[in-house]
């Protein structure tokens, strides 16, 4: 048993070590001269603009469904007027950031993992390296920074669209003006509801970009490994999102809600 456990343990430690090296390479290359601005902007467009519809639609449906699900219980308690506040607090603090991050993990981490994995298989990354160019600077730094920047922006837009979805759902059953609904939403929120939730989305974005790039860069040389890299990127990034979320909630609770 012990003999079998050692190689697995070693592999796990090797993996941690490789990720540490990959992180330090990423970090060093951010500050190296010759930042790839045009590739960074292209990645922001690919990652941000092309994910907007998916994030928007998902957030809209979630806002709508949450109100429809919450309403019967709130009516029973006579707390119908609290619906905008309930939605706003839950969406801004938790639902918006996590839903956006999970959607991005599915769409972006998999696409980065598959793209870099395929570049690895077809020797494009090796070709870049042997030409004397810097693949980490061109492929990794730009992608990780673009995701880290775009996930918070997508989350902000997703939050607004989700609240709008909630407004439409509330309007199916109750008459409430657009202005009153959003006034209630905004009045129920404090800065402290917004700030930690916004800050954690940068970490979500970083985790998605880092995992996608790491899995793609370290995929084996075979067509099957491209699929494995994409799949593994989604699973690992999703897991990291929940871990980061749990840590962020704990820190926020300790600091502000004691």
């Amino acid at each position: 048993m012990a003999e079998q456990a050692i190689p697995g343990y070693k592999r796990w430690l090797e993996g941690i070590g490789e990720q540490g090296v990959f992180f330090s390479q990423f970090f060093r290359n951010i500050f190296k001269g010759g930042f790839e601005w045009s590739e960074f902007v292209r990645q922001c467009y690919e990652i941000g603009y092309k994910s907007f519809m998916l994030v928007g639609l998902t957030s809209f449906i979630m806002g709508l469904v949450l109100i429809l699900q919450l309403r019967p219980s709130m009516v029973d308690m006579g707390a119908e007027s609290m619906l905008p506040k309930t939605l706003a607090v839950s969406f801004i603090r938790e639902m918006g950031p996590v839903i956006t991050a999970i959607i991005c993990a599915g769409k972006i981490a998999s696409s980065i993992g598959a793209e870099l994995g395929s570049m690895k298989v077809t020797e494009q990354i090796d070709a870049m390296e042997v030409s004397g160019a810097n693949p980490t600077q061109y492929l990794v730094v730009t992608r990780i920074l673009a995701v880290t920047l775009m996930v918070p922006i997508l989350t902000l837009m997703g939050d607004v669209i989700g609240l709008f979805g909630g407004f439409l759902a509330l309007n199916f059953t109750d008459e409430i003006s657009f202005k009153l609904y959003f006034n209630k939403c905004i009045a129920s929120l404090e800065f402290i509801d917004f700030l930690p939730a916004f800050v954690k989305t940068f970490f979500f974005g970083f985790a998605i970009g880092f995992v996608g790039c790491y899995k793609g860069f370290h995929s084996d040389k075979g067509t099957e490994s491209v699929g494995l890299a994409a799949n593994s990127a989604v699973v690992t990034a999703s897991l990291w999102i929940f871990v980061i979320d749990a840590i962020a909630v704990q820190i926020t609770s300790l600091l502000y809600y004691r």
Binding site: M119, Q124, D126, A127, E129, V130, S131, G132, A133, Y138
Partner: protein, 261 residues
């Protein structure tokens, strides 16, 4: 290279030339498989050396050690007199501007057009900024490989032979002193293979490069080689000109030529 070794006929004359690649007692294993077993090879400036061998014998591992993509388990690889394994990242980067590597697949960046593929090493490696000069160099190298009309095409729109030509052009654009070709004619029809082999020779003459060509294509070897090294089971078993090896009395050496015939 013991009993079967055939001396390179230009040895005396060539030995006066500068040795640009010096491999000594190189060994490399992957897991339990020993792919290179104590091989030694010297390449002189301006030479075209073909390494012949069966697929999966570790021929490509040799050239990957030359550019520092792989690290030898033992032995030394010196390029321009400097040991590759001991080079710092900056020295390795500098070396790679002098050593071009053509991958088996061409390894074109598939998210970029042919023009952008050519511009990539110019702007990232040579740090060229003058767009007119970049355009001139791109057009010149594409013209040399007969791909000027495909300048704005995506790699996915190119045939196998065109991809190899574009890969060769991208490697040549930085004007390396040494060219390493990894199976340049694999996967191509005989006519296109011959065209690529002749192109390698033309390019070598035009840019005066030293070349190491890894292949199992006898036609390619015949067209391009000044000297042929035969590899079997991780060892170099014979060395000489194409005709010398073809007429060798050694059974194993002859088998390479008989299989092709």
């Amino acid at each position: 290279m013991e009993e079967t070794a055939i001396k390179y006929k230009g040895e005396t004359q060539a030995s006066k030339q500068e040795v640009v690649v010096d491999i000594e007692h190189l060994s490399k294993s992957f897991g339990s498989k020993e792919v290179l077993k104590d091989i030694s090879l010297k390449i002189k400036r301006g030479e075209n050396v073909v390494v012949l061998g069966k697929s999966g014998e570790g021929k490509s591992v040799t050239i990957q050690c030359i550019v520092g993509l792989l690290t030898p388990d033992s032995g030394t690889v010196k390029v321009f007199g400097e040991e590759v394994a001991e080079m710092s990242n900056e020295e390795l980067k500098e070396l790679r501007t002098k050593v071009g590597f053509l991958f088996q697949s061409g390894a074109l960046y598939d998210s970029m057009t042919v023009r952008e593929n050519m511009e990539f090493p110019l702007t990232r490696v040579l740090k060229m900024k003058d767009q007119a000069e970049i355009d001139k160099r791109v057009e010149e190298v594409l013209d040399a490989v007969g791909l000027l009309e495909a300048i704005d095409k995506m790699p996915s729109d190119l045939s196998g032979g065109m991809r190899k030509r574009a890969g060769l052009a991208r490697t040549m654009i930085v004007r390396p002193e040494i060219m390493l070709y990894d199976e340049p004619t694999t996967g191509l029809d005989p006519i296109t293979s011959r065209e690529i082999s002749e192109l390698i020779l033309q390019v070598q003459k035009k840019y005066k490069t030293t070349s190491i060509i890894i292949t199992h294509d006898m036609d390619c070897a015949k067209i391009t080689a000044d000297r042929v090294v035969i590899m079997d089971d991780g060892e170099y078993i014979a060395e000489g000109s194409f005709d010398e090896l073809k007429n060798s009395k050694d059974k194993l050496v002859r088998s390479f030529f008989n299989e092709a015939a």
